[in-house]
């Protein structure tokens, strides 16, 4: 009998609160908190009232479908859009294979993208040619089969490929290395396909809209990584020359606004180039963005390197690992893990900073926004256009942020 009381489980005290209790504790605990809460509610009410009235009754959203294609791809010629379709399908193929092999988070990302894709596939908002009567096109589009199988064949094809390659890639662990090589090669592949050869080639001056923004951001984010690692290691090097060069580079670039680097790339660089050698405008912007963000990446990674205890290096040396192998297998994996939040934060910042290229005459998402407003017919609709563009930036930035939070949770920063 007595044993019973000893082995009886003791539950932790119930500290959860009901919603009423929560409201009382957090919003109405004192008379001045109550007043502040009421004031806040009134302000929120008026803000959202004005906002919703504008969104649903005053705004003229017709500008968005009329220029949707321009916003997405800029002046890229419509007869060549199949090139973008091929790139899209390539990337979804790689994603499908990766999702099958790595599962977990990669699979979740693939599912999220498939969800967005299906949504876009089925809603009757479509790319409308500029100047066309939108109501007529909308009517036409109501034929959903025509819409999906002809006007959205690339989207449909990409989604099918995603599903099929996922099934193919399932548990093919020996493919891992090839998939990684594939992702690396997808960058030059994308550039080559989008540009093309011969008389059908699409000059990079015709690349624009969200397409250009995504390309610039992807190149900047990915290319600054190896450069940043080298600079971070260089700054910690024991060799004075390497240390000095790395430090001067990092501090110079960090001391200068991105826009000056873009201007230098677009104005000064051609002056120093030999003869009539013309470096492509988009490439120059890519180089500028990469150089700029690599110095920030270097400082992020250096922070991570400092967080790795010296005992780790000693243990690696004690088993005879050389310096490059010690860095590769022991130090960098731990250093990068420790600074993933900072790296993602920087990537989001760079994604938004690409909008500065519109200042040097590139037609990225923000740049095409300006040209649209430059046409007299829609010049009064700047609020609609900027709002739409802001939402696109937000959706991408927020997605990156969510992915980073999930990765952090997986790595259990501080766990292993």
């Amino acid at each position: 009998m007595e044993d019973n009381t000893l082995t009886q489980e003791v539950k932790p005290p119930d500290t959860s609160k009901g919603p009423v209790r929560w409201l009382r504790d957090n919003l109405f605990s004192t008379w001045y908190n109550t007043i502040l809460t009421c004031l806040g509610l009134v302000l929120l009410f008026f803000f959202f009232r004005v906002f919703f009235i504008w969104v649903f009754t005053q705004a003229n959203w017709a500008v968005i479908p009329a220029y949707l294609r321009t916003l997405m791809i800029g002046p890229y010629p419509i007869e060549q859009v199949w090139r973008i379709g091929i790139v899209f399908c390539t990337l979804l193929t790689l994603l499908g294979l990766s999702a099958g092999i790595w599962r977990d988070r990669v699979l979740q990302i693939a599912i999220a993208i498939a969800g967005v894709g299906l949504f876009l596939l089925l809603i009757p908002l479509d790319v409308v040619k500029e100047g066309e009567d939108t109501s007529a096109t909308l009517e036409f589009n109501l034929n959903i089969f025509y819409l999906i199988f002809f006007k959205r064949k690339w989207l449909l094809g990409g989604l099918v490929l995603l599903a099929v390659t996922f099934l193919i890639g399932r548990d093919k662990n020996t493919f891992k290395r090839w998939i990684i090589i594939g992702w690396v090669l997808s960058f030059p592949w994308t550039m080559i396909i989008l540009h093309g050869f011969g008389k059908n080639a699409v000059s990079t001056t015709d690349w624009g809209g969200l397409l250009l923004t995504l390309i610039l951001a992807a190149v900047g984010i990915v290319a600054c990584f190896p450069l940043g690692v080298l600079l971070a290691l260089g700054r910690r090097s024991q060799l004075p020359a390497i240390k000095w060069v790395s430090t001067v580079y990092i501090e110079t670039i960090r001391g200068v606004p991105l826009i000056t680097i873009l201007f230098m790339g677009s104005i000064l660089l051609p002056i120093f180039m030999p003869g009539d050698f013309q470096l492509d405008k988009v490439i120059r912007a890519m180089v500028a963005l990469t150089l700029f963000s690599s110095s920030y990446m270097a400082e992020n990674i250096r922070g991570g390197l400092q967080a790795v205890p010296s005992g780790q290096v000693e243990a690696a040396q004690a088993v005879g690992l050389t310096y490059p192998k010690t860095m590769h297998f022991i130090v960098l994996p731990q250093a990068i893990r420790a600074v993933i939040p900072a790296i993602v934060g920087q990537s989001i910042a760079l994604f938004k900073d690409t909008s500065l290229v519109s200042v040097v005459g590139l037609l990225d998402l923000l740049g095409v926004g300006r040209t649209i407003l430059g046409s007299s017919k829609w010049s009064g609709n700047y609020a609609e256009v900027w709002f739409f563009i802001a939402i696109i930036y937000f959706v991408f930035s927020f997605s990156m942020s969510i992915v980073s939070q999930k990765i952090e949770a997986d790595l259990g920063v501080g766990k292993h």
Binding site: G311, A318, G320, F329, Q334
Partner: protein, 251 residues
């Protein structure tokens, strides 16, 4: 002398000096360790014990004198350093396991990357070592998921996986809870009986008395006394040694 000790010298130190900036840490260490010998190094904290054994695999650089390990003189030649590090295993006070790798990967990394062993052979050898350390069931866990005593045994296995000729231990049980000390000492005892050349910095005097061929007493960067355990404990000559022995035996 234990039954494994030979007369072949494997580590020869001649007048080894070391400074940290102006601070003279090692003030002329001259000694020879023979193949199969078990030496225990003790002495007060800060006397240079860690610094001394770390010069032997070049984690610290000495600035005067010579150190010859297995016939190779330690110099700035990177190739020699890497050759010696392959022959000298080291176990640290704080384990220094790689936290992002599973225990078995901690062990196989060196053999695969340095000894160029195949992954399969390295894993088989690692599992055999973990079996010998009595922790085969922990192979696929991460270091953070096992106890301190188990972590230190993984660290010993990691060093042994390189099939070294010499093992250095720097206070391997000092960071452990008392109930885990014996499981690590048992493993070291077994290793000693297998004929490994061992240099052990430790304050475990029971272990020293039982296993050591020689005890070296460090004070302020010099070896002030060295003797076989029986001599060392029963007839210490220096006052410092007497004091140290009476203090450590009280615990």
């Amino acid at each position: 002398m234990n039954e494994n000790t030979t007369n072949d010298p494997i580590i020869i130190c001649e007048d080894v000096h070391k400074w940290f900036d102006d601070f003279h840490v090692l003030k002329g260490i001259t000694t020879t360790f023979k193949k199969g010998e078990r030496a225990v190094i003790c002495g007060p904290s800060g006397s240079g014990k860690s610094t001394f054994i770390r010069t032997i695999n070049r984690l610290e650089e000495h600035q005067r004198g010579t150190i010859i390990v297995d016939g190779i003189e330690l110099s700035n030649d990177l190739r020699n350093i890497n050759l010696i590090r392959q022959e000298v295993g080291m176990v640290f006070q704080q384990f220094n396991l790689f936290p992002h790798l599973t225990n078995i990967k901690n062990i196989t990394l060196g053999p695969i990357q340095v000894r160029k062993m195949s992954k399969k052979a390295a894993e088989e050898a690692a599992l055999a070592l973990l079996e010998r350390m009595d922790i085969a069931d922990q192979a696929y866990k991460y270091p953070a998921e096992i106890s301190g005593g188990q972590q230190q045994r993984v660290a010993i296995a990691r060093a042994l996986a390189m099939e070294p000729k010499i093992m250095l231990f720097d206070e391997p049980t000092s960071a452990l809870d008392p109930e885990m000390i014996s499981e690590v000492l048992d493993v070291m005892r077994e290793l000693a009986h297998s004929g490994m050349t061992m240099l052990v910095v430790t304050h475990e005097m029971g272990f020293a008395r039982e296993v050591a061929d020689r005890i070296m007493f460090f004070d302020e960067g010099v070896v002030i006394e060295e003797a076989a355990p029986a001599d060392f404990f029963d007839n210490p000559r220096h006052e410092r040694t007497k004091l140290f022995i009476s203090q450590t035996l009280q615990h």
